[in-house]
């Protein structure tokens, strides 16, 4: 039950408040989850983080930076948002929901049915984070998003300030398999890779799976096999991904179905990636 609501005007104020209220406090960005029916968030104190500095989309020398409090709909209105992210933003099928949901919020929630995480991990996005030091100073950091996901407990009171997309040449894509557009997905599959013109191969491959109850995870062995050239065809990749995907049977589909989808989606992306690279 939420007992206190704070609206902070500065990042420092936000982090001071969250430190003060410790484990019972949470950040409120768009608010699509905290007050939602059956929400897993059990905060007693929420801190509204919608300050101006977290709502910008800007191009920098390092790439595109999207403020954590930028809503899905606002991002879709911005032409600088890359196609793979636009597609993922639209997985939230309700425009009303997209008016509320924020990019930072979706990343921070780390739900297994996350709209954005699979493709952002596949794209090797980075997070600009801010913490408060013990002596009250702001500490900024740039964290690979995969690290943020793998070590989520370490970032509980870390504020995501911006999401940085600094690899414009990289192929990234995701697919979300649902019975209807707004139904919960059976599985979400993300795929990212760089293409080596010199070696004519894909490398730095990332294959990301989102499915309950396992959450968001990567298929490291398969990625390695592709990077090492042990997997060279879409058919080989399809089988390997299908074999390595962890899934359970639930009301969204059987484990076999989910594994099949992971394989076929990955194979499809593999083919698309090669085609996009001119091979």
């Amino acid at each position: 039950m939420i007992k206190a609501f704070y609206k902070a005007d500065t990042v420092k104020e936000i982090l001071t408040l969250i430190t003060l209220h410790d484990s019972k406090a949470g950040f409120l960005a768009g608010g699509t989850d905290i007050n939602r029916l059956h929400s897993q968030s059990k905060y007693e104190t929420v801190i509204d983080i919608n300050t101006a500095c977290l709502q910008e989309i800007k191009k920098t020398d390092l790439g595109l930076e999207i403020g954590a409090c930028v809503t899905f709909e606002r991002a879709l209105e911005d032409s600088s948002i890359p196609a793979y992210l636009r597609k993922a933003l639209r997985y939230a099928g309700s425009r009303t929901l997209r008016n509320m949901a924020t990019i930072g919020g979706n990343v921070a929630l780390q739900r297994s049915d996350s709209y954005l995480l699979p493709v952002l991990i596949a794209a090797k996005a980075r997070l600009k984070t801010i913490d408060l030091s013990e002596n009250g100073e702001l500490i900024e950091d740039s964290v690979p998003i995969r690290e943020y996901v793998e070590h989520k407990d370490m970032f509980q009171h870390t504020l995501i300030a911006r999401i940085c997309l600094d690899k414009p040449e990289r192929f990234a894509a995701s697919e979300r398999f649902c019975k209807s557009i707004q139904a919960p997905p059976s599985i979400v599959v993300g795929f990212g890779a760089d293409y080596s013109e010199q070696k004519k191969i894909l490398h730095n491959v990332r294959i990301v799976i989102g499915t309950a109850p396992y959450g968001i995870y990567r298929l490291l062995k398969v990625e390695e096999a592709v990077n090492q050239g042990a997997i060279q065809t879409a058919a080989e990749l399809e089988k390997a991904v299908s074999d390595e995907t962890k899934a359970i049977s639930d009301y969204t589909g059987s484990d076999k179905y989910k594994k099949y989808l992971a394989g076929t989606a990955s194979a499809n992306f593999f083919t698309e990636c090669l085609a996009a690279s001119g091979r």
């Binding site: 929420v46 009303t96 929901l97 509320m100 707004q182 099949y260």
Partner: protein, 958 residues
């Protein structure tokens, strides 16, 4: 905390808690069009508001998020009593029907026009993507936007032109604003929740966590001691009365197999205790203090489970019969367990509760064995259907209060008089001590035919003297509300090489769940609305319904027909495939038409012998011809993608128009002293426009504009009896009663005028707009003059007309559905590219509303076919009791091309030639989509929902 915001251009301060939902705060502050359809799921959009000009779900917002903001709520759109152009366009386009979130839709469309002055179809898709609409299937929103655009820009309307019928009539068949459209779209007080008075108690139900269990003991003492708790009702202190919850005509074919509370619990969500409390906090605390000891039993979840030799017995009850008890009943009851209570049949329906059989029936015509022996080809297939939910935007709700010794129920119901009878029986009082007032119904679709909460809320109010408000949560809608009976239907068809049918056998097994709600009639309906569609001399059917521990079942739009239609129409397509015939050719070869006598109906009565019926009107020929042209039947469509195969399907459908011989509708009408009219109809308008139908009929008969006829309907103290709005009876029965009452009044007007004019009544006629004219003398007498004259102290008294309508005549609505589906063979995804529903509903009285109901019915059934399913785990718990997880279709799921076509027929028995429209449209989607999938990829999917996984399995992908 106190927040301040600008709401609808006025500064407001609101006192609230930090964790409150903004939806609740706004509703409680009087912004009643900010409604709750999903308990804060952030999905249905009934709670949409604009925050600084941006649409958001109010139920997801915390008060702190609107502090200092500018808000627009749906009730802030109209200026006083004047609608906006957009709101009026929505009424005129036919999208304002049950309308629970029509105000929110108006707000979203207003926002759309604010952002994009010339919105295109894709902009409408986006704008309404966060709004769930169950009644009208979204399609007419595009028309509403086009209409609003043309009116705002003063340009010509570019949308679909709404058809009109019967040029010789003034109101019937024409597009006229729905008479309650204004208050519904504007968001004025209309629904049960809007009637709740300050200081009322709430009822919180403690629900069974187990699908099958006995209550060993229950201790409510600690809970009763909580400040604010008024009373708690359990099986220990509830009335010792057995009844059924099915709102059917008395004596019901459904057994009385429950009391208000029972020692045996038969589904997760069953009633354990009702807490009546002065506030929700007290009720919440009390619910945690009720100490219940359970003996948990193994649940029965499927038909196969129920049929097993040593299956747990859901009703190991004492069985009684009001009439027709079998001779061995005493012996039979020796095995009963008193904790299971009783099952009381009003008359035999061949149940055997100790074998989990609630009801069974068999019948047929001709000689089935002979029929199959004459066949060149025989196929036999089994089809299964899942459990789906009506999901009305307004959940089940009632407000009960005492006025002196009278119990008043403000209800959202399809059956005010059945409700009064059942609640009276449950409370042990006479029916005249109860007044049921049907408020506007925010979606019923069959589930509000059942008395699911009014019995306990009514009793609570009667017992305590307090006003009691009880609203189902969305989760209760899934676990404690009527759903479609899951079924297994075997169909065996025999045919000659030329496709003519020689024999049909249908074996229906149905799962009725914890009670025998509609247990005979829904499964029978699977036969009675599918078998009479084809010509065959040898037909046999068997129906068996089983008790189980799944969530309750009952009536749902289409009743049993969608399931029977799925099986029968798919079997026909499979037969055509085996015969290597075009399925359309096979349908044409075997379908019924005008002039056919349906002998099969003799054995398909509802718990009694039926009556053969002659088909007096049938639009199947035209529907099939037009549909084939629209979809380019016979042309193979090729996709640009190698992954996608495209196929087409066709089916025919039928329903009835009420229940001849069972349904009964009454109406009366009186002339008011200024010459206008007050019509009292027993009919229950569910939002489908029945009141508008009645007013149209009376206005037509009395030659006045519709605004000269006011209507009061569905009020058991102030309007005459009506069996209710179910079985597609509204226009045919309730409408006929209104028409006959007006005709009765017409006679009396002419008689009164003849006395005033001193002329022969035979020389007088009614003329528009509201006068009597003498054909002999040419004299005119206005209704105003008549209305005054008869009430002057020397006149003949108030002029009235009354009617009681019954009939043994049937008027069958027919239709043909065509579908083009694209199947992705890599992912299994199914996309409905084109869907044409061509419906013969006789004369469409309200064409725009009729079309809306067809779109709504079809999209519901597309939902059932492709997306929706109540999923239970092994313990009988529903694992997806929220709208998103359950899978209701949104605007994004509309077929790319979606067209409803009204086929014009004129039925001799229907009022002004009308037949029913809404239910019949739900019968086509499942078989036509399945058939199109087969045409696309060569696989038959014989169980719904038809999911991508089943497609992939069928294709052997894993």
């Amino acid at each position: 905390m106190t927040i301040t915001c600008n709401i609808n251009h006025r500064q407001k301060s609101l006192i609230c808690e930090p964790g409150d939902s903004v939806q609740k705060i706004l509703y409680d502050a009087g912004y009643i069009a900010v409604r709750n359809s999903d308990d804060g799921e952030g999905f249905a959009g009934s709670d949409t508001i604009l925050v600084d000009g941006i649409p958001k779900y109010a139920s997801l917002l915390l008060p702190g998020q609107i502090d200092g903001k500018n808000l627009i709520t749906p009730d802030g759109l109209a200026k006083g009593r004047t609608l906006t152009v957009i709101q009026q366009a929505m009424i005129d386009a036919g999208v304002v029907q049950s309308a629970y979130n029509a105000p929110a839709a108006a707000l979203l469309i207003t926002d759309l026009f604010n952002r994009i002055p010339e919105p295109a179809g894709k902009d409408v898709d986006e704008a309404l993507s966060g709004l769930f609409n169950r009644a009208t299937g979204y399609k007419q929103f595009y028309n509403a936007v086009e209409l609003a655009k043309s009116r705002l820009n003063n340009t010509e309307y570019c949308g679909d032109i709404l058809p009109e019928f019967r040029n010789e009539l003034k109101h019937v068949g024409t597009v006229k604003p729905k008479i309650d459209g204004k208050k519904l779209v504007a968001g004025w007080r209309a629904y049960v929740e809007d009637m709740v008075e300050p200081g009322s108690c709430i009822l919180k139900m403690v629900l069974s966590p187990y699908a099958h269990a006995y209550i060993n003991s229950i201790d409510i003492s600690k809970a009763l001691a909580i400040d604010g708790v008024v009373d708690i009702i359990t099986y220990e202190n509830c009335p010792d009365v057995y009844y059924g919850q099915a709102g059917q005509g008395f004596p019901e074919p459904s057994p009385y197999d429950r009391k208000m509370f029972n020692k045996k619990l038969r589904h997760v969500g069953d009633r354990v205790a009702a807490i009546i409390a002065e506030n929700s906090q007290a009720a919440e605390i009390a619910s945690s203090l009720i100490d219940v000891s359970y003996e948990v039993l193994k649940p029965v979840l499927t038909i196969d489970d129920a049929m097993k030799k040593n299956a747990p017995i859901v009703h190991n009850s004492v069985v009684e019969y009001v009439v027709g008890a079998p001779e061995n009943l005493q012996e039979y009851n020796k095995k009963a367990d008193e904790r299971d209570g009783k099952v009381i049949y009003q008359f035999p329906i061949h149940g055997n509760p100790h074998k989990n059989i609630a009801a069974s029936v068999s019948g047929g015509i001709g000689d089935i064995e002979k029929g199959f022996s004459q066949a060149d080809v025989i196929i036999e297939r089994e089809y299964t259907t899942s459990q789906v939910q009506c999901t009305p935007l307004e959940t089940h709700v009632v407000y009960a209060k005492m006025r002196g010794d009278k119990l008043i129920l403000h209800a959202s119901t399809q059956v005010p008089w059945h409700m009064r009878r059942i609640v009276a029986a449950a409370c042990g009082i006479s029916e005249n001590q109860i007044q049921v007032i049907k408020e506007r119904v925010g979606g019923g679709y069959g589930s509000k035919q059942d008395i699911l909460l009014e019995d306990v809320a009514g009793y609570a109010s009667y017992k305590t003297g307090r006003s009691v408000f009880y609203r189902f949560t969305r989760e209760q809608e899934f676990i404690a509300n009527s759903t479609r009976h899951p079924m297994k239907i075997s169909v065996k068809l025999g045919a000659k090489k030329d496709g003519s049918l020689t024999g049909i056998y249908m074996n229906v097994k149905a799962n009725t769940g914890p009670t025998g709600n509609h247990c005979l009639t829904v499964p029978m309906n699977a036969c009675s609305k599918s078998l009479p569609l084809v010509l065959c001399e040898n037909v046999k059917f068997d129906v068996t319904t089983f008790y189980s521990n799944i969530p309750p079942t009952g009536a749902y739009q289409g009743y049993g027909a969608p399931k029977g239609s799925y099986a029968m129409q798919m079997a026909l397509a499979e037969l055509a495939d085996k015969l290597e015939m075009d399925p359309l050719e096979l349908i044409e070869k075997n379908r019924v038409g005008k002039g056919v006598m349906l002998e099969i109906l003799r054995c398909l009565g509802e718990g009694r012998e039926g009556t053969p019926a002659l088909i007096e009107s049938c639009g199947l020929e035209e529907a099939l011809k037009k549909g084939a042209e629209l979809i380019k039947w016979g042309k193979r469509e090729i996709s640009d993608s190698t992954d996608i195969s495209i196929g087409k399907g066709v089916v025919i459908v039928q329903q009835g128009s009420g229940l001849p011989g069972l349904d009964h509708s009454c109406a009366d009408i009186k002339m008011v002293s200024d010459g206008s009219f007050m019509l009292h109809s027993g009919g229950a308008d569910l939002g489908t426009g029945l009141d508008t139908v009645s007013v149209k009929f009376a206005s037509e008969v009395l030659c006045v504009d519709m605004d000269q006829v006011a209507i009061l309907s569905g009020d058991t103290d102030n309007t005459p009896f009506d069996t209710g709005a179910y079985a597609s009876s509204g226009t045919f029965f309730s409408g006929s009663a209104s028409k006959l009452a007006a005709e009765d009044l017409k006679k009396n007007i002419l008689q009164a005028a003849s006395e005033i004019l001193e002329e022969n009544p035979a020389d007088l006629i009614l003329i528009y707009p509201g006068a009597v004219k003498s054909l002999k003398s040419g004299k005119l007498l206005s209704y105003r003059e008549i209305g005054h004259e008869v009430l002057t102290g020397t006149g003949r008294g108030q002029l009235t007309g009354t009617a009681s309508f019954t009939t043994d005549k049937s008027a069958f609505p027919y239709g043909a559905h065509f579908c083009q589906a694209a199947v992705n063979t890599r992912t299994g995804e199914i996309k409905i590219e084109k869907y044409y529903a061509l419906q013969d509903c006789g004369t469409p009285i309200n064409p725009e509303l009729a079309l809306g109901q067809i779109y709504g019915g079809v999209l519901k059934s597309i939902g059932h076919t492709l997306y929706e399913e109540i999923v239970l785990n092994d313990e009988g718990e529903c694992v997806n009791p929220v709208l998103r997880d359950y899978g209701v279709p949104m605007i994004s799921e509309l077929p790319d091309v979606f067209e409803a076509v009204l086929i014009d027929t004129d039925d001799p028995y229907g009022p002004y030639g009308a037949k029913s429209v809404s239910e019949v449209s739900t019968n086509g989607a499942a078989p036509v989509i399945a058939n199109a999938i087969h045409d696309a990829v060569g696989i038959w999917i014989r169980d719904w929902p038809i999911t991508p996984e089943k497609v992939l399995k069928g294709l052997g992908k894993f």
